[in-house]
Amino acid sequence: MRLSHVLIAIAAAPAVALPLFGSSYQIYLAELILINVVAAIGLNLLTGNCGQISLCHASLMAIGAYTTALLTTRFAVTYALALPAGIVVTTLLGASLGYPARRLSGLYLALVTLGFLEVVSIVIEEFPDLTGGVRGLKLAKLEFAGWPLNAGALYYFVLGVTVLAIRAGWGLQHSRYGRAFDTVRQSVIVAQALAIPPARTKLLAFSIAAAFAGLAGGLFTAVVGFIDPTEFDISASLRQITFIAVGGLGSVWGSVVGAVVLTLLPETLRGAKEYSDVVYGVILLGALVLAPKGIVGSLALLLGRFHGGKARLP
């Protein structure tokens, strides 16, 4: 894997040097990309590896964002504690989806996650005293255990956390749990024959995905400073699914590539949300129909054919 280490270093260099020469908008955009990477990694483990359809990933991110926001803004909790708290809350709520996943799959599971999404939207709307309702939640200035989070520090924090998240996702994917996920996705019966517990494996997948979503949401709170609930609707969930479908299902690097490319894309288009929705929809549809393995998957396939080697995605 030495070539890929070099590639990573080359790709990472501008990311590390950005605050030195980039505009504040570019730094902000980079932070959004990193947040999307984190969310995509979690979703890919759940959907790409474990094969569970989730339409509510954006809602889980919202839960992380709101929890972290409320703790820092309403209860003056330091961000250093509010962020992990947001992750914990989101993980617990996301784990609850593991229960219907025991017996349901595919379409029916998708509907449960849709129901979850709707319920979260309604709760956000109907408790405006807590969440700011449809008008959103504006946040206080954040401080991290006493230190104020200025622009440069925040960027490096987000970057560092994202790198850790990529490492964690990679570690999981290549561990016995990643193999368990892949097995459950492909055949529950084979999983059972190999003493892999399908229900617990799905529960783990949902919990992990929620944890990543909660982390992404907590980072969002720090970066954006204002939570607009419409940012976390069904089209947001679909956007995240586009990241992993285009980047490569079941691959951590696919999540990274997909999130980076598809967050940058609307920037080049410079349009309103509707235009980016159309572009996302078309890209997603195109990816599903024409390139089901995504960018990374297709590359792996090509390289695999080239030297008849390993078929496992990086």
Binding site: I53, Y108, L111, G115, I122, D277, V278, L288, P292
Partner: protein, 290 residues
């Protein structure tokens, strides 16, 4: 709650439930035929309303707008089936679910680009002030919605029982391989099912437009229609009707008794409860198949 209020609520519940039922029916037809759940169906409802809007702007009379809208929508449905669904019909469920969602996203965004979030009104000849029937105040639109649903259901029953195409659709949904062996052109059936479904969706849009106005978010009611379909059981036409009406009535009573927040949540609470306890729906218990 007095009897009069209860009746009043029942009427409005049946009316909103009829819309849910119509959309649920439109979901059931392609699901039965090709086992694809069209998550873009809400956008086909919206599209129907906007098509009618465009036709209205040409000054056409209502009596022409209705059939024209249905026909144009049917053409859209056929187009979707050929261009989007056909290439991926054998793909894993993830692909099918997400593809129709993506399609809905595209349609909704295109509508927004052209018409923004403005709310337009569709003048319908029957829309007017509420009048009294006995102790009840009746909105004529409600009556038209309920009546149209009844007629639609009757026509669909006749269609599936008596017409060649209808019977072919039932055969394909029952056993596509056997149907093909019997000489039924399955691709024609699929196309027709999607065309029919789009037309029915557009009908719902036509009925909704005078009542709540035309806006890009009309399609959001697909969430409720999905709940209705789950209550009744997927792919069952009787279930779609039963589920839609039941949901409409329950939702309306819940709202009156417990407030708006409860009214919003109750459909999804029901959805999750049914999927956990009896995913095949409630209607299937009493009827083998419709």
């Amino acid at each position: 709650m007095t009897g009069r209020i209860a009746l009043q609520l029942a009427l409005s519940g049946l009316s909103v439930g009829s819309i849910y039922a119509i959309v649920a029916l439109s979901l059931a037809i392609p699901f039965k035929a090709s086992r694809v759940l069209n998550f873009a169906q809400g956008e086909l409802v919206t599209l129907g309303a906007y098509i009618a809007l465009v036709l209205t702007s040409y000054g056409l009379p209502y009596a022409v707008i209705v059939p024209a809208t249905l026909l144009i929508a049917a053409a859209f449905g056929l187009l979707i089936e050929r261009l989007v669904i056909r290439p991926i019909v054998d793909a894993p469920e993830f692909t099918l679910v997400i593809a129709t969602f993506a399609l809905g996203l595209i349609i909704r965004a295109l509508i927004r680009i052209h018409w923004q979030d403005n709310v337009y009104f569709l003048p319908a000849p029957y829309a007017g002030a509420a009048f009294a029937i006995g102790p009840l105040r009746v909105n004529p639109s409600y009556l038209v919605i309920i009546g149209t649903t009844a007629v639609l259901v009757a026509l669909l029953v006749l269609f599936f029982a008596r017409t060649k195409l209808g019977k072919a659709m039932r055969a394909v949904s029952f056993n596509p391989i056997a149907a093909r062996l019997m000489g039924i052109r399955v691709s024609t059936v699929f196309g027709s099912a999607w065309a029919l479904s789009a037309a029915i969706g557009a009908l719902a849009g036509l009925l909704l437009a005078p009542v709540i106005g035309i806006n890009p978010e009309l399609g959001h009611l697909i969430s409720k229609a999905l709940v209705a379909a789950v209550i009744g059981g997927f792919g069952s036409l009787g279930g779609a009707l039963f589920g839609g009406l039941l949901l409409g009535v329950l939702e309306t009573y819940a709202g009156a008794m417990f407030g708006a927040a409860f009214k919003e949540i109750i459909p999804f609470a029901i959805l999750i409860a049914i999927l956990l306890v009896r995913p095949q729906g409630l209607w299937g218990a009493t009827h083998a198949r419709v």
